[in-house]
Every structure is written in C-alpha cells, then in structure tokens.
C-alpha cells in the first residue's frame, strides 16, 4: 500500500551534539522527517535513540546544532512549549500516571491549549482506535496489562492533537502479537495525516514497518534511506538480518 508522502519537511535536526553531563551521547546527528511519513530510528541499546527523542521534545538541549519544526527554531525550547506546537512524545517504559483512572490519563493528555478545544473529538478518536480503553475507562491505570498500558500512552499522546508523534521503544516487553496490533493502529493513525517517528531496537521489523529509517550507532548516524534501499544494503543485511 502506498501512502501519499509529500517531500515537505516537518522536522529538521541539523548536526546536533548532545551531552549527558560530561558524556557525549550524540555526535553531529542530522535527521529530516517528511510530512506524513512513518520514519524509524533504529540501533542498539546505547546508540542514542532516546536521547535524540528527548532532545527534540526539549527535555535535553543540544550543545551544538539546531532543531527546526515547521520552520520554527525549537532548539532551546522548553518541553511544554514543544508539546503546544504539536510534537508529542510517547515515552519509553509506558509511563502512565499509575494512580489515575484510564480516562484521567487521557484527559491530562489534552492539557495544552490547542488540545483542550478538541478534547471530546480526540477522546472519541482514541476510543475508536482502542475500544478496550473505553471499556476500561474508569479503571485505575496501573491495573491494565502491559499492552493496554502501551495503548493508553499512545492514546494519551493522541489527546494532545499532535502533528508529529515521537514513539520510544513501544514494543519493549510486549508479546509479538500485541506489537503487530499496535503497529497496525499506528498505520491507521498515520493515515489520518499524523507524521510518526518511532524508535526500535528490532531493526528488521522496523525497516519492514517504516517508509524510511535512520540507523544510529554509538551516537552517530551510520546509515539512512528508504526501507527498500536499506534492506538491499549489504552492511545492514549482514549486521542486522544475519543473511
């Protein structure tokens, strides 16, 4: 199935260096996200994938380089302002608000001013995508299963009415069948015009699911390209597919 993918850039990360204290996590990383695409960011555990997402979200700020979203410079913007612009991050580790109900978790997702106005419509959309959340809406969030919690954080992110979703390691600790289910839903979300940048450790699976991918190694971009280009690439086949 082909998706209409414009060549318009929604997010441009330009040669950033990011440090955790004195440890340099990202080295001269550049990345471009096209409007409407599903982009994978893959690599091993310490490659710097989550660091890159946190830097885009404004939780970390680069020492060098710049980040622009829809032409606006967001390099040193505070996280709450980044969300207001329409970038939402689904964090790693299913960080639900454990003591709040499912519905309260979703409603807090619509905290930004732009999202409040569209709260009811977005809630309907989330319940449409994940009917299980509607059935469990009054349940305390920590009593949900792992897969349901992952659906909840994706739903909570959608409540912020995003144009760009950053999704960090959603498959971690989930059964493959649940992961496939969620990928299917992500494609539905993408079909409504939301751009998706997702981070995964499973290179093979990610390249299959995405339109394009960037491979990070030790905080540097090692390779990038469309999914078909990358699956043909000998280095990728050897390193990640074992063939």
């Amino acid at each position: 199935m082909m998706h209409t993918m414009s060549q318009e850039t929604i997010l441009k990360v330009d040669s950033i260096d990011v440090f955790h204290g004195s440890f340099q996590a990202l080295w001269n990383v550049s990345l471009e996200v096209k409007k409407g695409e599903m982009l994978a960011l893959v690599g091993s555990n310490t490659a710097g994938k989550s660091t890159l997402l946190d830097t885009i979200s404004g939780l970390l700020h680069p020492a060098r380089g710049s980040i622009a979203y829809e032409g606006t410079d967001i390099t040193n913007m505070e996280p709450y302002k980044v969300v207001e612009l329409g970038i939402t991050q689904i964090p790693e580790g299913r960080r639900i608000f454990p003591e709040m109900s499912v519905m309260a978790n979703l409603i807090i997702g619509s905290y930004t001013h732009r999202a409040r106005a569209r709260r009811d419509a977005n809630l309907k959309r989330v319940y449409g995508l994940f009917p299980i959340l509607e059935r469990r809406k009054n349940q305390i969030a920590k009593t949900l299963s792992g897969g349901e919690q992952q659906m909840l954080v994706i739903g909570r992110g959608l409540m912020s009415d995003p144009a760009l979703m950053l999704i960090d390691e959603m498959s971690l600790g989930l059964a493959p069948i649940v992961v496939n289910e969620i990928f299917k839903t992500l494609k539905e979300i993408r079909a409504t015009g939301i751009t998706i940048l997702f981070v995964e450790q499973n290179v093979r699976k990610s390249i299959q699911e995405a339109d394009r991918a960037y491979i990070l190694e030790n905080g540097r971009v090692a390779l990038s390209g469309t999914s078909s280009e990358l699956s043909e690439e000998e280095k990728v086949r050897k390193a990640y597919f074992g063939i």
Binding site: P79, R95, M100, S160
Partner: protein, 286 residues
C-alpha cells in the same frame, strides 16, 4: 447510650474537623512534593495572626478577612516553593526540611515581634453562641470548624480531580517526565500546588483563631497534631486526612473524658503508633 458520653463524642468529631482542616495543607504538600513541611503549623498560625490583625485594626469579621489572608498565604506559598524549596530540592532531599525549619523559626519570631508573645484569640458576635443536641449544649464555632473542614476537603479533592491545573499537579507528582511531555510546565506547577495548600492553611488559621487561643509558639503544637492526622490518614488521600482528623479528635476527647486531660496527648500518640504498626501506609493511603 449513656447521655453523658454524647458530649465528648460530639466535641471530638467537631474538633477533629478543625484538626483535619489544619492537616489538609500538610497532607497536600506531602502528597504532591513528598515534602514534610515543618513550617506548616506556623504558616497556619500566621493565618490566625493575620485574621486577628485585620479584625483588630479594621474591625473586619474574621471570616471576611479571608479575602485578604488567602491571597497573602497563596503568594507566600508560591514564593516558598519557587524561590526556596525548588533550589533546596536540587541540593538534596534533606535540604528542604532544613529550609522549612528555618521558615518556621522566622515566622515564630516575626509573630513575637509584631504581636508580642501574649496569648491571643479572635472573638465574634457568634462565638458566644451555642447549639443544642438533645440536652447538651455545644459552641457554634465547633460546628463551623467541622463544616468548613468538610467543604475545604471536598473542594480540594474536586479541584485535584476535575480541573486541568489539579490534574496536572497530580500527574506531575506521579511522573514528572511524563507530565512534561503532556505539556505541563513542571517548573511552576509545584509552586501552584504549595500555594493552593496555603489557601487551606489560611482558612485553618482563621478558624483555629476563633476556636482556640494562640501564641507565636502554637504552630509547633498544631504541627504535631497535623502530622499525626496525615500519618493516620495516609499519603495522598484527602478524604483519609479528613477521617483521620475526626479519629484523632475523638481519641483526644474520649481519653480526656475517661482518664483526664493529662492523658489526652498520650493517647493521641498511641493511636498514631498503633496505626503505624498495623497499617503503615495509613487508613486510606496507597
């Protein structure tokens, strides 16, 4: 039921309402910021003195004086969190305790300087009045304490559950990073949480001042009671705090009734110890 015992039972519940009212702000700050605010008792007493001052200088009814004392304590609470506690939390988890202790000493001494160490009390036209329950007579302001405590508890609870600011405070206390990703400015949200807890402290101060005489050193005494209430009620439950206030009030007046006034606080501490031994998370704690 023996008619005599009705007296300490009713007084215990009503006074327990005042204890709950005093403890609500402590409970909220503890629940949201995990901060044991050692200055809480003195902040409440500061509220009592402010109401007393407005009553004596402007002749304003103490309940009306809340229009002035609430904004003062709201602002003070925001300032304490944003300019003192936030920096202290960045140093260590003990530093805020020391800062809170310092604030307590400053308020105590300021009250001594401005209001003298003499015992004060606020009396109004309705403070001499009483209501009847059966053949027993009870002061009206005890009933007011209870009703106001119930209203403040429900208002705080609904605020935390139903408003965006309240939900944001709850969310930030459960997962700060996830809260930032929801678009919550976690740099100011705790300031608002502290400030809102201080609204309840201002109300508690006024009603405490109408119920009991107070001195610049009374804060410590009420901090101990509020602390007991929060321990019994459990972290993060305002309803638990309210119920615990009533229990503590009952324990105190019943011990006084059966065993004499000297044993009152002994039994309060025993009740706290028993709850800690049987249910360390408190009656309604998580």
């Amino acid at each position: 039921m023996n008619g005599e015992i009705l007296n300490p039972l009713v007084i215990g519940v009503l006074i327990g309402g005042l204890y709950a009212l005093i403890a609500l702000g402590l409970s909220m700050v503890f629940g949201v910021m995990r901060l044991i605010n050692l200055a809480h008792g003195d902040l409440v007493i500061l509220g009592s003195y402010l109401s007393y001052f407005i009553w004596t200088s402007l002749g304003l009814d103490p309940i009306l004086s809340l229009v002035l004392t609430i904004p003062v304590l709201f602002g003070l609470g925001f300032f304490i969190q944003q300019f003192l506690m936030k920096r202290a939390f960045a140093i260590s988890s003990e530093a805020p305790l020391i800062i809170a202790f310092g604030i307590a000493l400053i308020i105590q001494n300021a009250n001594q300087i401005f209001f003298s160490p003499l015992s004060r009390g606020i009396s109004t036209s309705y403070s001499g009045q009483s209501f009847f329950l059966g053949l027993h007579q009870f002061p009206v302001y005890y009933l007011m304490d209870f009703i106001v405590a119930l209203i403040v508890m429900l208002a705080l609870r609904e605020f935390l559950r139903r408003t965006y600011l309240g939900r944001a405070i709850t969310a930030a206390s459960q997962d700060s990073k996830a809260a930032q990703l929801m678009g919550i400015n976690t740099k100011t949200i705790y300031g608002f949480a502290f400030a809102i807890a201080m609204i309840s402290a201002a109300i508690a101060g006024t009603f405490l001042g109408m119920t009991f005489p107070f001195t610049p050193l009374s804060g410590t005494q009420f901090l101990m009671i509020a602390f007991g209430v929060v321990i019994i009620g459990g972290l993060g439950s305002l309803f638990g705090t309210f119920m615990a206030g009533l229990i503590l009030g009952l324990v105190q007046t019943l011990a006084g009734y059966f065993l004499g006034a000297a044993s009152q606080m002994l039994f309060v501490y025993l009740a706290i110890l028993i709850v800690l031994a049987i249910r360390p998370q408190g009656l309604l704690g998580r």
